[in-house]
Structure formats: structure tokens, C-alpha cells
Point group: D2
Chain length 142, copies 4
């Protein structure tokens, strides 16, 4: 599973294809089978009390699984999530960035499977854990 897109290329690609949400996310690191991303938190991601909402956590996990897949197959805008299972385990720290560490567990012709841990930056224990499956479009598409 060789890396075919850099963090910079992935950030540029997100801006091109998901202009609406590209301001919400930043790819920090890419290496073989692994990506680190962050949520660029703004008011729309917060619950009363300043903690990050469930949909915002889901959104970060979903994008991280997409990005770790693209990092290994190249820019395919049409990959789609088919399944996500997410465990919410701790309240995120208010005012602390939310970080995703995604690992690519399987890269098949039709499906990728990834595992994502979400952390409040600087904390040891994850706030959430997700596994996601993406359907990869055939080679002629994407």
C-alpha cells in the first residue's frame, strides 16, 4: 500500500472537490497506511458548553477514512461511504482541537476499510473510535 498523494496534495484536492467543507478540515500527516487530520473547529461544530457535536465528530471520522483511502488510490471524488460504526466514549475537551488518526486496514478493488481514533489534542485516551467502509468507483470513473 504505497502512498500516492502527499498531505499538501490531499488538502488541495479537498478544496477543489468539497469547497463547502474544505475549510473545516486539515490533513496534517500522511504515511503508509496512516493519516492524521484535524477539525478546524468553528461555532457550527459546537454544542452548548463548547464541546464538539456528534455529527461534527462523525464528519471528521468520515473525511479521515476518505483521505486515508485517497492517499493510497489517488484523487477519486466519487468514493462513497457505505458503512460507519462509531463508539462515543468520552466528552471532547472544550476549546481543544479534535484530531483524527486513520489507519487503512484493507484496500481492495471495490472496498476500503479504515479505523479512526478521535482525540482531543494532547489527551491520551480517545473520545471516539470509528470504523468505515468506502466503496471505490471502477477505474473508468472517479
Amino acid at each position: 500500500m504505497a502512498v500516492v498523494m502527499s498531505a499538501e496534495q490531499l488538502n488541495t484536492f479537498l478544496v477543489e472537490v468539497f469547497e463547502q467543507v474544505a475549510d473545516d478540515f486539515h490533513v496534517d500527516e500522511v504515511s503508509e497506511g496512516r493519516v492524521v487530520m484535524r477539525l478546524l473547529t468553528s461555532d457550527k461544530h459546537l454544542r452548548p458548553g463548547g464541546t464538539i457535536s456528534g455529527p461534527a465528530m462523525f464528519g471528521l471520522a468520515d473525511v479521515a477514512a476518505y483521505v486515508v483511502t485517497l492517499a493510497h488510490i489517488g484523487p477519486k471524488a466519487l468514493a462513497v461511504t457505505t458503512n460507519c460504526s462509531i463508539d462515543f466514549m468520552r466528552k471532547p475537551e472544550a476549546g481543544v482541537p479534535l484530531i483524527a488518526e486513520a489507519r487503512l486496514l484493507k484496500l481492495g478493488k471495490q472496498l476500503s476499510v479504515s479505523d479512526v481514533m478521535l482525540f482531543s489534542e494532547g489527551m491520551n485516551m480517545p473520545v471516539a473510535r470509528a470504523s468505515l467502509t468506502y466503496a471505490i468507483p471502477p477505474k473508468s470513473m472517479g
Copy 2:
């Protein structure tokens, strides 16, 4: 599993405790073990092309599971999602409201388990299916 809150009471409660997102959702129907809700779609829920985003679908499923739980235990703001498994099966129709049908499968002292189907209004086949577990706070809280 008797119903203890009406659709009107649930809508009022959402406005009180989740002011930030209450404009996004509306409870249409409540009956024993079942709730029908809708996403009041606005630009922030859409992807390019006008279809509803994954996080917005997750958000509707999550709120529907919360509401079907509250409908049977009364207003407890502190119930929290512990797990969600969601299958995305079809693209939602652009410009068509997204409807959630939530069924309460288990109501224990500590946990509720619900099943949610998401539909583009008027369509037969679901766009997504989710199961969610909520942790219910002890009686002295919530």
C-alpha cells in the same frame, strides 16, 4: 413502553435544550415505540449537487433515536449516544425532505437501543439505516 411526551412537547423540549440545532429538526409523529421526524434542510446540510451530506444524515438519525427514547422516559437532556452503526445505501433525492422513522427496540434502565430508517420523502426504499445506543442517566440526574 408507554408514550410520556407528545410530538409538541418533544419539539418544545428540543428548542429549550438544543437551541443551536432545534431549527434543523421537526418531530412529526409519536406513537408507542415509534417516532417520525424530518430534517428541515438548509444549505449547511447539502453537498455540491444539492444532496444531503453524510453528517446531516447521521445527525438526523442520532436525534431521532434520542427523541424516541425521550418520548418513553420523559425529558432527560443528559442521555448520550454511546454507539451508532449506519449503512448508507442510496443517494438522497436532491430537493426532497429527509424523513426518519425511529423504532425503540429496547428500553432498559441504563441503555436504550433504536433502529432508524432514513427516507427521501415519498420514496419506498431507505437511503440509510442506523442503529443507535443511548446511555440513560440515573434517575437523580438528567
Copy 3:
């Protein structure tokens, strides 16, 4: 989603391709998008106290999702489970048959998605709920 195999054909097919476990299961009913099956319980499926074990419940849900898929695509031995999310909600009744009601929610070219409820026969509330995804082999295989 037309039905292309009867309950009798499905039972015969299970014996041919899964001789080792075919004695464990029986297909009771097949209709459009839906199958009812049962576990033919024996000692190997039981926990101390006589209740059905978790792996036996998983096994029934898995076979039911496979059978409801085959009922609509025909006999393809090579379909494989890619994901299962299962909620265990109540202890099954000891000495009571375990029944699965499987519904086919999506039948694509590459994937099927099913929802399975498990019941102790004669009970109203499910003991478990599962959703399963099967990868369907290309037409030249299976």
C-alpha cells in the same frame, strides 16, 4: 427485487454448499425482500443454563442475511460477509427456538445490505438485531 429461489430450493442449496452447518438452520418462509429462518438448536449452541450463545445468534443472523440475498440473486456460494453490526438486547428464552426475520434493504451489483431481527419464538420483543453487508461475486463467478 423479485424472488428467484423458494424456501425449498434454499434449504437444498444450504445442504449442498454448507454441509457442515446445514443441519443447524431451516428456511421457513421466503417472500419479496424477506426471509424467516430458524436455528435448529443443539447442545453446541447453548451456554450453561440452556440459553443460546452469542456466536450461535451471530451465526443465525449471518446465514439469514446470506439466504435473503440468495433468494433474490440465485445460488452464489461465494458471496461473503464484509460487515456485521449486532446489538444483543435480551437473553433468549431457554428451550425456545430462535427465529430470524431478515429483510433485504439494498441489492446492488456488488453489495447487499440486510437487517435481521432475532426472536425467541412466540415473543414480541427481539433478543437481538443485526445489520449485515454481503459482497456479491461478479457474474462470471459464484
Copy 4:
């Protein structure tokens, strides 16, 4: 999360409380937040062709999540699985032992959450990945 039971104590406990299946599993290693176990494969776990069945993989993941929980809370026979999400990613190697690496991600008063990777011994890439939630009985029980 301090370890309170050794591998030897856990193996002894499994024999005491799950006599029926204790011959199927062996705890190899226990450390803080982590357990390594193996399936002692016999004919009942195999599919035609000699690969390990889905229910046997589920069973190993389920026991590993139980054991990693007990390793940190002590011997409580009554802990029960409430949810499992499992991704099947590769066919296990025929004739090769199946190994589970379980990590304890959360240990609350009422729930534990664990992540389990299953490997054919000696292989780098996992055959399956599971996340499991256990409900922990109150202190007066168990």
C-alpha cells in the same frame, strides 16, 4: 487501568465459568489495556476448505473483549456483550492459528469498549476487526 488478573488466572476463570467453550480459547498475554488470545482450532470451527468460520471469528473477538475487560475489573461472570461491529477483510489462512489482539479503549462503571484485531498467526494484515461493548454488572453482582 491497572491489570488485576494474570493470563493464568484468566485461563483458570474461563475454565470455571465457561467449561463448554474454555477448550476453544487460550489467553497468551496480558498487559495494561491489552490482551492477546488464540482460538484452539478444531473441526467445529472450520468451513469446507479448512478456513475458520465467521461465527468462530466472532466468538474469538467476543471472548477477547470479555477477557480484556475482566483483566482490569476482576472476575465478573455476568458481564454481557451489548454490541459488536465486525469487519471481515481477508480469508484466514487454512491450518494457521487465529490470534486476537484486544485493546481496552474505555472502562466505565457501566460499560467497557474494546477494539479487537484478528490475525492468522504470522501474517501482517488483519483478517478481521471488531469493536465490542460490554455491560458491566453493578458491584453487588457478578
